[in-house]
């Protein structure tokens, strides 16, 4: 039996990845890159789920991670087609230029 990786290391990695994703969402203008940052955040949370699942010795956390992956797939499909639709109308994916619904 190999020694186990301490759970706190994994949770720390998850925290760092999540914060990286948050910074990406806050700083990037390109809508596609904002989506990629959201994916980083979802992956960070999945890492927490899997870590806690191992800590608990149960599989419920892993099932939650699978559901997160499924919902992320749906979210990306719809989000990217919205980006395609916006690009068709405005010829840009820069979120500062997309201000049609701003009053």
């Amino acid at each position: 039996m190999m020694e186990k990786i301490p759970a706190n290391y994994c949770l720390l990695l998850s925290a760092v990845l999540f914060a990286t994703g948050v910074v990406g969402v806050l700083t990037r203008r390109n809508a596609v890159l904002i989506f990629m940052s959201i994916e980083i955040m979802l992956n960070a949370v999945n890492l927490s789920f899997v870590t806690f699942a191992r800590e608990q010795g149960s599989l419920h956390g892993q099932v939650a991670a699978l559901f997160v992956i499924a919902v992320a797939a749906a979210e990306v499909a719809v989000g990217l087609s919205i980006i395609v639709a916006v690009f068709r109308g405005k010829e840009t994916v820069d979120v500062d230029e997309i201000n049609l619904m701003k009053w």
Binding site: M2, E3, I5, N8, Y9, L11, L12, L13, A15, V16, L17, F18, A19, T20, V22, V23, G24, L26, T27, R28, R29, N30, V32, L33, F35, M36, S37, E39, I40, N43, N46, V50, R54, Q56, G57, L59, Q62, V63, L66, F67, I69, A70, V71, A72, A73, A74, V76, A77, V78, L80, S81, I82, I83, V84, A85, F87, T92, V93, D94, D96
Partner: protein
């Protein structure tokens, strides 16, 4: 030995994530995101979640990233640099906020109270996960399939555009 592997994989994951956020070219950012996803899949497998790791590679690196690259190529997002900041200091404030977020989460990790200890032990094999998915989580599983169907129809309707 396992700790060394963890440190290397974690360093790759963090570096790839930072490159996604910092990279100017969207195609390169997508490739870095694939690196991030694959290194996380390694971590899942080393944490005993073999099935989740496999799904991560197949669904994320396989399906989702192809969609991303397709949209990047289609929309010419690769060539568009970010426009100028409209708020002064926006990047610096965002990075500072991210650091504060990390500090808060580390604090919660350190002083967050005791965690419940292991209740049982089961490995993350497809058979175990499958039996859990089709018994305890049967209803959420069906709802997820409906969600994917709705997302598929919605994506087609949104991306189809108007045909005159």
């Amino acid at each position: 030995m396992q700790l060394l592997a963890f440190v290397i994989t974690a360093a790759v994951a963090v570096a790839a994530a930072v490159m996604v956020v910092a990279e100017k070219n969207a195609v390169h950012a997508a490739l870095y995101l694939i690196l991030n996803i694959v290194s996380l899949a390694f971590l899942y497998i080393s944490l005993g979640a073999e099935f989740v790791g496999a799904v991560q590679v197949i669904v994320y690196a396989g399906a989702i990233m192809v969609l991303f690259l397709y949209v990047v190529m289609f929309s010419g997002a690769a060539a568009t640099p970010d426009s100028r900041d409209r708020l002064a200091w926006q990047k610096r404030i965002a990075v500072g906020g991210g650091l504060i977020l990390v500090a808060l989460m580390v604090r919660v990790l350190k002083f967050g109270g005791p965690r419940p200890s292991a209740v049982s032990s089961a490995d993350g094999s497809p058979a175990n996960i499958g039996s859990l998915l089709f018994t305890t989580y049967a209803l959420p599983f069906e709802v997820a399939s409906l969600l994917l169907l709705v997302a598929m129809v919605g994506a087609i309707v949104l991306a189809k555009g108007r045909r005159e």
